[in-house]
Symmetry: C2
Subunit: 329 residues, 2 copies
């Protein structure tokens, strides 16, 4: 396995780009080129998730989509997301939580790449949860790709602490203290919504393509505060439809409110606190509404958090390693 | 709509059968003939659920499968289950809960049937739950087919009170006091298990056809006592698999334990109490194990509860109505 290279930041006048930052997920491949001044100079997004790449074909697929950028001799190329999973390019072992930023940098998985650009996969993180129940049962949690967004959002907020929420297929709630990720939890909220809308009895009376109906969403949020388990609350969506209390668009929003509400219910942010919400605009809108409904403030981030996280690693590597030049791997 | 007929019980020497009892669900059609002595003399089971019958085709389908029984001139034919839903033969309005046995009998939906046998659909039941949270949000619950099993199980136990559990696609917990169904709750446990095993990320590392692994099932039951919402606990199944802590057979049992455990967690039966569990032997086995694990006693019932419930209605109708003969509808 290649060893980590040592870097120094390029001289201010050097016109070559700093880095290529890639987020390679299950169903999509996105990348940016960060120029000599530290700005994003170009972006690419392709429907080439890791599931669309044959095992052993990752180097070729990467060269095909980003070979021209690699030819510009950037100082670093970083990849984050599911590309580091067992089904990806190469498995990057999870970095155990709690972990600070430099621990993550030390555990970058350096790849052999023919183009001569030092290239690494950002590891995911694993945790054993810290409350008593979880400690008793030793149930781990994992994430890949969210850790870099958290680092980026903290940098954009110029903060070392925070509660961060990354909604999606598998929503993550992440706690950071003193630039250390101290804990996180995954909720299958997005996947459950899709499963229920597409395959369950609820789907028969639900229009998942409808726009958000705010009143029904709030009704679902409030209902989710019940001590009842989700498997009971979900059936209420069906019963309300049967009695004509929810039309198909309202049903979809109510169900969304139920699922998101239970996330908030069991991972409470104290009223008045600020939560960074990182994700697509549609999801950020829903979670921000939910957070405001329980008296919290939401600060929204999109893709910029990902790229800021990658850039933070570049800065870390070029500032903290020895100034003695070494050959790249 | 036909009016209810009046009955008197047949003379002891009358050889004609008492009744035909039918349970017509979403995916199956089962029936029994109850003879002059009150015993089940014949059973039939067909894969002809209401989804397999065209709208308007129910009378013909019924005559096709049970015409020979109807020709024996039974005194009564009763149908229970989804046959009384909007997608069934004819919609039987829900009987509001709480309801005692005679309320249910008064709300039987009598059908026009050409064969001249008085035939009725047993109504389902609807409830607004009674705890404060539910009352605030006015979320109803519904069942169709379980009400008759509850009546039957109480009769078989010679009891007027009890906590009854009917596991299945949509599990029901039912409370009875003084021969009155006072409340019930539905959990989408069976449907969620199937959805997750067939369509979710959990399905990738789960063998839902494997036999129950008792230790993993208990591990899931214990984990379900966590205050965390199901959408977080479910992801733990994935993480435990990733770390090699659960093999595919264990994953299926653990997931089953999680889902059943959350049912028990939020619908607690006090330790030492007795719960009647009515269902298929596979499900009764799992729920009985779960109940014993929390210190309760499980009393198991199968199909006999359904038929005992039907027979109880026969007895009620023939004992309580006027002895003046009236023509059947």
């Amino acid at each position: 396995m290649p060893k980590p290279p040592s870097f120094t930041a390029r001289a201010p006048g050097d016109p070559r780009p700093r880095m290529i930052a890639i987020d390679w997920g299950t169903t999509s491949l996105r990348g940016v080129r960060i120029d000599a001044q530290g700005h994003i100079s170009e972006q690419r997004a392709l429907p080439q998730g890791i599931l669309q790449v044959e095992l052993g074909g990752f180097a070729d697929a990467f060269a095909q989509h980003f070979g021209d950028w690699l030819a510009e001799d950037p100082q670093l190329c970083l990849l984050s997301g599911m590309v580091g999973s067992r089904q990806g390019w190469q498995e990057a072992p999870y970095c155990p939580c709690p972990a600070d930023f430099s621990a993550l940098c030390q555990q970058l998985l350096w790849l052999d790449v023919p183009q001569g650009v030092p290239t690494a996969i950002v590891p995911g993180m694993s945790s054993l949860a810290h409350n008593q129940v979880d400690a008793v049962h030793d149930v781990p949690d994992v994430m890949r790709g969210e850790e870099i967004q958290v680092i980026g959002a903290l940098r954009l907020m110029d903060s070392r602490d925070g509660l961060l929420l990354l909604p999606g297929t598998h929503s993550k709630w992440v706690q950071a203290q003193n630039s250390t990720i101290t804990g996180f939890k995954t909720f299958m909220t997005g996947e459950l919504f899709a499963l229920l809308a597409q395959h369950s009895i609820l789907g028969k009376t639900l229009d998942s393509s409808a726009a958000l109906e705010e009143a029904a969403f709030i009704q679902g949020l409030d209902r989710a505060q019940s001590p009842d388990t989700l498997s009971h609350l979900l059936f209420g969506t069906r019963a309300l439809s049967l009695f004509g209390a929810l039309d198909p668009a309202q049903s979809a929003s109510y169900l969304s409110g139920l699922l998101i509400g239970q996330e908030l219910h069991t991972m409470p942010a104290p009223a008045g606190s600020r939560v960074a919400v990182i994700g697509s605009s549609t999801l950020v809108q829903r979670y921000s509404l939910a957070l405001r409904h329980v008296g919290c403030e939401a600060v929204a981030f999109g893709d910029e958090a990902t790229w800021a996280g990658h850039h933070a690693i570049y800065d870390h590597l070029t500032q903290t390693t020895t100034s003695t030049p070494q050959s790249p791997p």
